[in-house]
């Protein structure tokens, strides 16, 4: 029982990171129907920005976190402008291949610039655990969970209550109609990329706090898994991405604890294939029929 509770705590901490990345996937997919393969690399860049801000420049944690959100946001907007916008009217496969290309480019540039060797993320928080009823909760886990929840509340507020959030929802419902209502769709799409990338950048710092080894290829697997989480929760749905992320984190930590860590990656993808076959719209997604 103690082990189970412990794994649930670890799983929720990991899951909140997946949820942050999944939000970017789901928002971008909701608005331009593109699986942004480069999203996992944005998360990696976020981790590296955080690393350099903390070590090379010695900035305080909150400033570093802010930087690790702003720089990836700018990068996300740049990628959209250069690589995806010219292909707005192309078949989705063309854009998907471009996204794979961007992802590989970022990975390989990161390997050239940062060297492929793993770097140790500085330990700014004490790792001494609290003991609550036999369950060990570390301070970094608390920070990660609190930051993630705050960011998600902020995102929800923005999407539901602000004017730009309303515009985002309008564009994702019907781009043409939104344009006719006077919404600058290109600006809204850029904004969506910025917000999604900022959340991924924050996730990069969060992962650095819990698992302090970062390297240029770290984005691929979490990126794919976060995408699975987004599909699982219902792609296009913001609460769905949060739920999917947490479920993914929990499943992974339970599989690692009770089965074997080497099967972990296979479980994530099996989950994806099962959900795609059984309920392609995801848990919280609305199913749409393809029109002829």
């Amino acid at each position: 029982m103690g082990i189970l509770l412990q794994q649930i705590v670890n799983g929720i901490a990991l899951g909140s990171i997946y949820a942050l990345i999944a939000l970017g996937y789901t928002m971008v997919y909701g608005i331009i129907r593109l699986i942004n393969f480069a999203h996992g690399e944005i998360y990696m860049i976020g981790a590296f920005v955080g690393y350099f801000a903390l070590t090379a420049f010695g900035l305080p944690f909150w400033v570093s976190l802010l930087l690790a959100m702003v720089i990836p946001a700018l990068l996300g907007v740049l990628i959209e402008r250069v690589a995806y916008r010219p292909l707005r009217s192309s078949p989705s496969i063309t854009v998907l291949i471009t996204a794979i290309g961007v992802s590989l480019l970022l990975q390989n540039l990161a390997m050239l610039w940062f060297s492929p060797d793993p770097k140790t993320f500085p330990q700014i928080f004490t790792r001494a655990p609290f003991n609550i009823g036999g369950v060990r909760i570390t301070f970094p886990q608390v920070i990660v969970l609190a930051t993630s929840v705050l960011l998600m509340i902020g995102l929800n507020f923005m999407v539901q209550k602000t004017k730009i959030g309303k515009a985002m929802r309008a564009v994702s419902q019907d781009k043409e109609a939104a344009k006719l209502m006077g919404i600058d769709t290109d600006r809204i799409i850029s904004f969506t990329f910025a917000i999604g990338s900022a959340l991924a950048g924050a996730a990069g710092v969060m992962v650095g706090i819990i698992y302090p080894r970062i390297q240029p290829l770290m984005g691929t697997m979490p990126g794919l898994k976060a995408f699975v989480a987004a599909v699982f929760g219902g792609i296009g749905s913001i609460p769905g991405a949060m739920l999917g992320g947490v479920i993914m984190g929990l499943t992974e930590s339970l599989v690692t604890a009770y089965i074997s860590s080497t099967w972990r990656d296979a479980i994530a993808f099996s989950l994806l294939i099962i959900i795609l076959l059984v309920k392609p719209a995801g848990i919280l997604g609305k199913s749409t029929r393809e029109k002829v």
Binding site: I35, L96, L104, N108, L112, V231, S260, P280
Partner: protein, 321 residues
């Protein structure tokens, strides 16, 4: 349109492959003048051609976007290697065993997943490729991450050549047949194809398993060429490399795939000194192709000897594109 230009193109292009590749290459080879370094590259090139053409059958001709080709290659490689290590089967039979295993898996996987479309199919096949790799990593008989060694190194250039030609001929003849037309119609418009009475599920699974069959052959040739295989040989990146070859050549163009494969196999060898920039170049190229020429080098057209000669005869007149 009085005659079928596509058919004419294909005739000429079969001649191109058969005559130029076979005669020229084999004269050099038989004379024994080729250093082993070059025969190694040739073997690798042939294996890549099989992979690219078979992926083109799925992605370019049938229009079903698969990102799991390395998975089928892995199955072919491991099954054929295990068969020749433990049962001592001759190479050709081992290759066929690997290919049959890969294509059976293709049917098994294709039946449920080919219901998905576009992006979702791409992600599902990517996931399947990864699952295959994780399964190999966890089995005892495959020796997990340590890799499987002691495979007889029996692959020859001739055998690779033979299978590359078989793959190309199969795909070309398939494209010209009723069945091939069905595949092309699925690519152009799946709903319309279905309305015309084409059993789309059957044809999609057929293309998928045929592609998997040849990927399995390529995997077997690879295993028996290297003598040692490990799950790391068949990672997601391998699928992407094959995809780049197909996309650069033009989705749907078989000659395009062949040309792109030859270029992309020789280029990294020629640029050995810039090894660390190779992947940067690859990915930048992928983006550039998609932005500036999404149809690839050849589009869906084929290279034709007579067409090429025709250009010279009429004084460099360009063909209409």
């Amino acid at each position: 349109m009085t005659n079928n230009p596509n058919k004419k193109n294909l005739d000429g292009y079969v001649t191109l492959i058969a005559v130029v590749v076979l005669v020229l290459l084999n004269v050099v080879l038989l004379a024994g003048k080729m250093p082993t370094y070059y025969t190694g590259i040739l073997r690798f090139m042939g294996i890549n051609i099989i992979l690219a053409v078979s992926l083109n059958l799925i992605n370019g001709i049938t229009g079903q976007f698969s990102l799991g080709h390395a998975g089928f290659m892995a199955v072919g490689a491991y099954v054929s290697a295990l068969v020749s290590i433990h049962l001592g089967w001759p190479l050709v039979f081992a290759l066929l065993a690997g290919a049959v295993a890969a294509s059976l898996l293709g049917i098994l996987i294709g039946l449920p997943t080919l219901r998905l479309r576009g992006d979702y199919l791409a992600i599902a096949t990517l996931g399947l490729g990864e699952i295959i790799r994780v399964v190999i990593l966890n089995l005892d008989i495959t020796k997990g991450a340590r890799g499987l060694g002691g495979i007889p190194r029996t692959t020859t250039v001739y055998l690779v050549e033979l299978f590359a030609i078989i793959t190309i001929l199969f795909t070309v003849n398939l494209m010209r047949s009723t069945h091939g037309r069905a595949l092309l119609s699925i690519r152009e418009d799946e709903i319309a194809a279905e309305a015309m009475g084409i059993n789309t599920t059957f044809y999609k699974v057929f293309a998928f398993s045929a592609g998997a069959f040849f990927a399995g052959i390529a995997g077997g040739l690879f295993a028996h060429s290297m003598g040692y295989i490990a799950p790391a040989n068949f990672e997601f990146m391998r699928s992407i490399e094959i995809l780049v070859m197909v996309v650069l050549g033009g989705l749907g163009s078989i000659t395009g795939s062949v040309i792109a494969t030859v270029v992309l196999t020789i280029l990294p060898e020629a640029l050995r000194g810039f090894a660390q920039y190779r992947m940067v170049l690859y990915s930048a190229m992928l983006i550039a192709i998609m932005l500036f020429r999404p149809s690839g080098l050849m589009g869906t057209r084929e290279l034709d000897v007579r067409q090429v000669l025709g250009i010279f005869k009429t004084g460099g007149e360009k063909d209409a594109s």
